[in-house]
Amino acid sequence: MDCHVSSNVEVVPGNGTVALVGQPNVGKSVLFQRITGSHAIVSNYPGTTVEVTRGQARLLPNTVVLDTPGVITFPPHTEDERVTERVLLQEPLKAVLQVGDAKNLRRTLLLTVQLAEMGLPLVLSLNMMDEANARGVVVDHTVISDSLSLPVIPITAIRGEGIEELTKAVQSAPSSSIHINYPNEIEFALADICAYLPDAPISHRALALLWLSGDLVIEEWLQHRLDSNDLDEITARRLILQEALGKLPSDVIQVSRLDFVQGVVNAALVDAGTGWGGTSKTVEHLMIHPLWGLPILAVVLYALYWFVGVFGAGFLVDLIEGGLFNQVINPWVITWVNRLIPIPILVDFLVGEYGLWTVGMTYALALILPIVTTFFLAFALLEDTGYLPRLAVLTNRLFSLLGLNGKAVLPMILGLGCVTMATLTTRVLEHKRERILVTFLLALAIPCSAQLGVVMGMLAGISFGATLIWSSVLLVVFLVVGWLAARVVPGERSSLLVELPPLRWPVPSNLIIKTIARLEWYLKEVIPLFLIGTAALFVLDRAGILSWITNAAEPLVTGWLGLPAEASTAFLMGFLRRDFGATGLFVMESQGLLSPAQVVVAMVTVTLFVPCLASVLMMYKERGWRTAVEIVLLTFPLAFLVGGLLYRLLTVVGWGL
């Protein structure tokens, strides 16, 4: 295959898959929704679309559209970017539709030339024309079209403008053919390497360029298709090139591309637009202001607390659990189960003390679902307005103490909703070390909304001081253990680099679609494990193991923590269902069995204690069984250690005895 010609892919008419590719925050997902009219996660915070979303194109017959994670440039550096590259390498694509930000032409075109060199049929859509117009940016897209020999369509996806023209262009897109001249040393190396490359969906020239840039996904892909001799040859050739250049080939390649792109930009950019002011700009800057950022954050956090805690956990739960389930549904279910099923043990299994329906399902639907729904809705709001990257900026210094950077705030906040989902979201962090540290902190010190609802209810019932003690202890543990862990886990800290997208009004339909998508995931992944946990408790109770554990753990629970022996069952329950642990203690407290100090100690221990079954399984899936076991083995003694110390501290001080 000739390495000096980029286009070698035939256009497949009719059926096929079209991939949406683009940098983060350009509106890919909005366009996806417009084209397919189907559900997809819409977000402008990079990394949230971790899975590739597929949909049937409404206006194109027999065409599937693929929404890929955002990629800034190739070679890929994050898991998301790697997924996008794999799509280009492995999916049989009819065309690639790049979505670009019209007001940021240079960085858009930098990606365009990389995609064009791959030789697939390519269409460039310049999105967010409304924002470009508002800033006075004027682009002559015909110039770009001529220079790069590909269709360029200005659109505003959010208003549906330009979509029809875009669809037509995608249907008849020709293979892209551009040729950028790289310095001679690189051209020679390209020719040499191309001779070894196997057939591929993308052009040999692009493959070779990525190989020279040190692309690990390409390396993996080639390792499966080349024998070791050929692999050694091209590795050696790359080394020779690097020595000849005196610097990294990827550097030189990127500079050549930048030169080329700048030429196109100079010709196509009629007006670069002015720096714009306005209220939204002022608000954006206040949000990350060293002084004003914090009160704004406090307001946001309070609003979050009010919406999820007061409205969700209070009003909605009372309505659904207290009203609907306790008064209407459950009595009905209990009556009918008793009537239809003659076997007592089965009746107990379904509607008894640890009944699958009365306890398992009721809690899942009536207690947890409303809380989690309000949380996901609030989180979607934070995402879509563009506040989250600003939150990363504000919290960056704090996280740098823990060997992380501000980006870690995303899984941490999500963990307040569901630790299991947050553990999955650690994928947005760039390095393995960060993912391990955040997973550990999530398991240890972040209470999920299921637990938060009950814990805060209990503590608020005692006094505000109790809540203060609980939250301060958690914060201290979070910081101290996080700081220690950062020293133990090997690796370097990566410094913060994040884009701050313009503050935008969230589109209500997007918020709802995102929340529903997350709820679907939650219902499928987490709730079944809740039910399994409930069933396991039933079995343990029946087999007498529950009481055995109570007795065995007595010295630890009574002697060290200063709690009554029954509390140990609560801890075990807390492992199977995080909210159970707290509710078990709630019951004891309402029976007057616990003093305020004991309640606080119990709450602290339960929160620090191992996270629920669902998140342990997620830890195993994401990080492997060894890390998962290590984390569990660490959090267990830590929880009891802190609980016991707190008990002694409160005794000495004389609080709440």
Binding site: N104, R106, R107, Q254, I288, A392, L496, L497, E499, P502
Partner: protein, 100 residues
């Protein structure tokens, strides 16, 4: 002072700040006063390769101008119509030439 007067006063103060910064011999992005524009000269060797690639992909390339919006709590710059936030640690590794 009238609103126009305040604006003129502010611009004059800003130009003086930028001019003072220019007189320093080696200037990093972290040293550029907020409100000024700076021309990128080079990246130091201490910068990790993937960070450098990302910054260049956004358009922070030797020879081009960026506007510094603030330096605390992190460095925030504007390239084209994109705002980027980066830690001072990174901003120190980017050398700039002219400032205006």
């Amino acid at each position: 002072m009238s609103p126009k007067g305040w604006r003129k006063h502010f611009h004059r103060r800003r130009r003086r700040r930028c001019h003072d910064a220019l007189s320093r011999i080696s200037c990093a992005l972290a040293d550029v006063p907020p409100g000024c524009q700076a021309r990128i000269v080079s990246f130091s060797n201490a910068i990790p390769a993937n960070r450098k690639e990302h910054l260049q992909a956004y358009g922070m390339v030797p020879g081009f101008w960026v506007r510094v919006i603030q330096q605390s709590p992190v460095t925030v710059i504007q390239i084209e119509h994109t705002e980027l936030a980066l830690e001072a640690e990174l901003a120190r590794e980017v050398q700039v030439g002219e400032i205006k």
